[in-house]
């Protein structure tokens, strides 16, 4: 895995949330998904910073929606996971699974 394809913890969580949300992935649902599923209340600014880093790495792409009055006339920015992002997720999961296995304490066995 090259230096540019590493996923930090926040990036990993945001990327997974974007993937779960599919076509409805923008700031607000992503933050709600992180709160409900990961129990993390993450500031929207931090989510956009993580999405910016993921964009730099080519793991997400984005497109603008239409401006709506309930958002003060601001458009939503929808995010999608790219094939490169999916590859990075798979590699990260494989690496974490390898690290996780063989540790008796984490597998519920007695030491």
């Amino acid at each position: 895995m090259s230096r540019r394809s590493y996923l930090g913890e926040m990036e990993l969580m945001v990327l997974l949330a974007v993937m779960r949300l599919g076509d409805e992935a923008y700031g607000v649902p992503i933050s709600k998904e992180l709160l409900i599923l990961a129990g993390r209340e993450v500031a929207l600014g931090s989510i956009y910073a993580a999405l910016d880093r993921l964009g730099e790495k080519g793991f997400v792409s984005s497109s603008l929606g239409d401006p709506t009055p309930e958002r003060g006339g601001r458009a939503k920015r929808y995010f999608n996971v790219t094939p490169t992002g999916v590859r990075a997720l798979k590699m990260t999961r494989a690496a974490l699974t390898n690290l996780w296995s063989g540790i008796p304490l984490l597998e519920g066995k007695r030491l």
Binding site: S2, R4, S5, Y26, G27, V28, S31, A43, L44, G45, S46, Y48, A49, L51, D52, G55, E56, K57, G58, F59, L64, P67, T68, E70, R71, G72, R74, A75, K76, R77, T82, T84, R87
Partner: protein
């Protein structure tokens, strides 16, 4: 207004819209203010991360010019430039600014290394940064006379004056002078880096 300029990349409008949407869903003013503050801090740290060569140059140049200008090795620099033989204002510039200029030049090595790592190295960026640094140092040095109420004569020496502001103020100003110089000097390099960063890792 803060949040409109706070978000990294081109997501300011989207972030503002998200904050408004959540606020209208029933979040408090305190929540909104906290979100704006966090977005502002995240934006600053993101800016430092994106432009770390500029910040490194500004820090090193500030430390060098403030703490090493009187180093024994540099005391003879104005003399070696034969400043006494030069016409005014070159004599004054050579006498007063040759050492800061030399130290800023030394600090450019840090900027150069950073630009190489970021794959946006250009000689012209270094040249422009040095020129902007010298121009702004000179302007800052001589513009002090525009604020006579900030100057007091040194007791027993009416020809010399000292600043009455805390020493941290000119140090911070110097830092921003070098930071602005690096930013102006590397504008095209930064654009190049941003384009590089936004390119997918494996298209």
């Amino acid at each position: 207004m803060v949040v409109t300029h706070a978000c990294p990349g081109s997501d300011n409008d989207a972030l503002t819209g998200d904050l408004i949407e959540r606020f209208r869903e029933g979040q408090t003013r305190g929540w909104f203010r906290r979100q704006v503050f966090i977005a502002f801090i995240v934006s600053i740290t993101g800016g430092i991360r994106r432009h770390w060569p500029h910040f490194s140059y500004a820090i090193v140049a500030t430390v060098l010019t403030w703490f090493f200008s009187d180093a024994p090795a540099l005391r003879h620099v104005p003399g070696r430039l034969h400043w006494r033989d030069l016409p005014w204002p070159w004599s004054q510039l050579a006498f007063e600014l040759s050492r800061p200029a030399l130290l800023a030049l030394a600090a450019l090595s840090i900027l150069a290394a950073g630009l190489v790592v970021e794959r946006s190295f250009r000689w012209i960026s270094l040249l422009r940064t040095e020129v902007f640094s010298l121009a702004l140092i000179t302007f800052g040095h001589y513009s002090i006379d525009l604020f006579p109420w900030l100057l007091r004569p040194v007791p027993g020496d009416q020809n010399h004056k000292f600043l009455i502001v805390p020493v941290i103020v000119p140090i911070v100003l110097s830092f921003f002078v070098f930071l602005v110089s690096a930013w102006l000097g590397c504008v095209s390099s930064s654009r190049h880096t941003d384009e590089f960063r936004r390119r997918p890792a494996n298209p």
